[in-house]
């Protein structure tokens, strides 16, 4: 079964958080939703998590109880232990025979040794891993993760990645939000979101190759609106250029997508 949204529009008062966003979440696949602050990532993920937000368009979602969701903040009780969190989830979801899976999830997140530690005493990375383990306990068909790796150090991040990939391997459709493109490149499909609109979607290679115009590298700054730094050198976008064989990075393609969007507004 494919989950997702078609022509999803969500408004908060006068603000349009999402404009006609369509997205497909396939079982066994990982989708990265990429964008900065205010892009609409959290709104899209909340909608996919089945949190009842008034919307226009169609949402196709699993039955209640078959979605795992880790919000960008909260969801963890500081004065409960790790074990108590999983116990809580098992009761809330009415799970039976869950202990072996809980043990496995804690082992894979390097939390097994801290079962009786209060969540308030965990590091940020450990809390994010606990959140992911809780979401995975009921074997969700759709796993929705909002910036679970933001501010998390590389070692914990790798642990989270292992867990996310494991969930997809089990057949879950996984959606995660990030503001980093090196992380998005780990996903099979990328959805570039900016001010509530989809700027590009597809595999990281497709998004990069669909970029209009050409990006070149130079020792000199180009036009201030269309050039940016990469280390000591500059990258510049020529809307009418033809891309040479030099590979475009996903980051370049994302910057260009934002420049195109800004150009359309003016």
């Amino acid at each position: 079964m494919t989950w997702g949204a078609r022509d999803l529009t969500i408004t908060y008062g006068e603000d349009t958080a999402l404009r006609a966003v369509s997205v497909e979440c396939l079982p066994g696949e990982i989708l990265a939703v990429v964008g900065g602050d205010g892009a609409g990532k959290s709104t899209l993920l909340r909608a996919l998590a089945g949190i009842g937000i008034p919307h226009q368009g169609t949402l196709t979602l699993p039955d209640q109880g078959l979605t795992g969701y880790v919000p960008s903040e909260g969801g963890i009780y500081r004065d409960l232990t790790i074990d108590e969190h999983l116990d809580f989830v098992s009761t809330a979801y009415g799970l039976t025979d869950w202990q072996a899976r809980a043990d496995d999830l804690l082992t894979r997140t390097d939390l097994a040794a801290f079962g009786d530690r209060l969540a308030g005493k965990l590091s940020g990375g450990q809390r994010r891993k606990l959140g992911a383990a809780m979401a995975l306990l009921p074997r969700p068909e759709l796993l929705v993760l909002d910036e679970v790796t933001t501010g998390v150090d590389p070692v914990s991040r790798m642990g989270l990645w292992r867990l996310i990939a494991g969930a997809a391997a089990e057949g879950a459709a996984v959606v995660f939000a990030t503001s980093y493109l090196d992380e998005a490149e780990r996903a099979g499909t990328v959805l570039l979101l900016h001010e509530g609109r989809v700027l590009a979607a597809g595999s990281p290679a497709d998004v990069a190759s669909a970029m209009p115009g050409a990006v070149t590298e130079s020792d000199q700054p180009g036009s201030p609106e269309r050039s940016w730094r990469r280390g000591r050198r500059w990258r510049a976008w020529d809307p009418k250029g033809i891309q040479s064989r030099e590979k475009v990075s996903l980051e370049d393609a994302a910057i260009v997508a934002e420049l195109v969007a800004a150009g359309e507004e003016t």
């Binding site: 990982i30 900065g36 933001t150 996310i164 280390g231």
Partner: protein, 278 residues
């Protein structure tokens, strides 16, 4: 003279050694990226460079002297939480900072008269950067300066950081992300309190490798390899196995009857950090 000169610095907290005989220099005009996992000692090192913490042994010199309170006027610092007063406007934040650090406040980088805490994160980050650089510091210390902003906003922040370096500031940037580490002239990788590598990203990765496995049905191969011991992750549809032997991975797959293409590839910076830490 190096703008930041850390010589054989060790810092202990009780019996715990947070920073262990670390050497680090940053020259004027240079952007150095400080990378490493949590607990690697990055924050402790930065606190010593800012003069907030004294080394147990060794010396920290900033602009040729001990990092005193007076010297802080010549240093710009943007902490991870930005250090802005959320219930002041951008202009008021800049005025306050100018009053503390000397000089006149810079013009606000954008038009907005609202409280800074209500602005989008990208604008808050730009304001924090202007607040930290309006006194023309000779040393600039930035902690994850572009976390949470869009790719274009990130590239604009890096334009500002580069401008500072090109006018002679020595810039030290602490980061967890490769997108950001790539922008530095040179990286210093810390692991368990020590400097584990220094140079460009490829210098640091050196010959540390990973095994990439491409299987028609990656899910099946992932399940198998994830249970086999070494850390396993995914990049697109390719499985990556860390710290394992190519022949062993091939054998594991063959014994399970899974057809796959297995090859050795260079590790990423993240993977290198995981391997150094394990």
């Amino acid at each position: 003279m190096s703008a930041i000169d850390v010589r054989s610095v060790t810092r202990r907290f009780g019996s715990f050694t947070a920073v262990d005989t670390v050497e680090l220099t940053v020259e004027p005009g240079e952007v150095v990226g400080l990378v490493g996992a949590n607990g690697a000692g990055k924050t402790t090192l930065i606190r010593m460079i800012l003069g907030l913490l004294a080394p147990t042994t060794g010396t920290v010199a900033v602009l040729g002297s001990l990092p005193t309170r007076e010297l802080r006027r010549r240093i710009g610092y943007v902490p991870q939480n930005l250090g802005l007063y959320r219930d002041l406007t951008t202009a008021e934040n800049l005025e306050f900072r100018a009053a503390a650090f000397g000089g006149s406040p810079a013009a606000s980088p954008f038009e907005d008269n609202g409280l800074i805490g209500d602005l989008p994160l990208g604008l808050q980050r730009r304001a924090a950067f202007v607040a930290a650089t309006q006194h023309d510091p000779e040393v600039l210390v930035l902690d994850e300066p572009t976390s949470g902003v869009s790719p274009l906003a990130r590239s604009k922040l890096w334009n500002l950081i580069r401008e500072q370096a090109e006018t002679g500031a020595a810039v030290l940037v602490s980061t967890h992300y490769m997108d950001e580490a790539e922008q530095a002239d040179r990286l210093v990788l810390m692991s368990r309190g020590r400097v584990a590598g220094t140079g460009t990203m490829s210098d640091i990765i050196g010959d540390i490798g990973a095994i990439a496995v491409a299987a028609p049905r990656w899910q099946e191969a992932f399940d198998l390899l994830d249970g086999s011991g070494p850390p396993v992750t995914l990049s697109g549809r390719a499985i990556r196995v860390l710290g394992a032997d190519l022949a062993a991975v091939e054998l594991t797959l063959a014994q399970a009857g899974i057809a796959a293409e297995v090859r050795s590839v260079p590790a990423t910076l993240d993977e290198t950090m995981v391997l150094l830490d394990s």
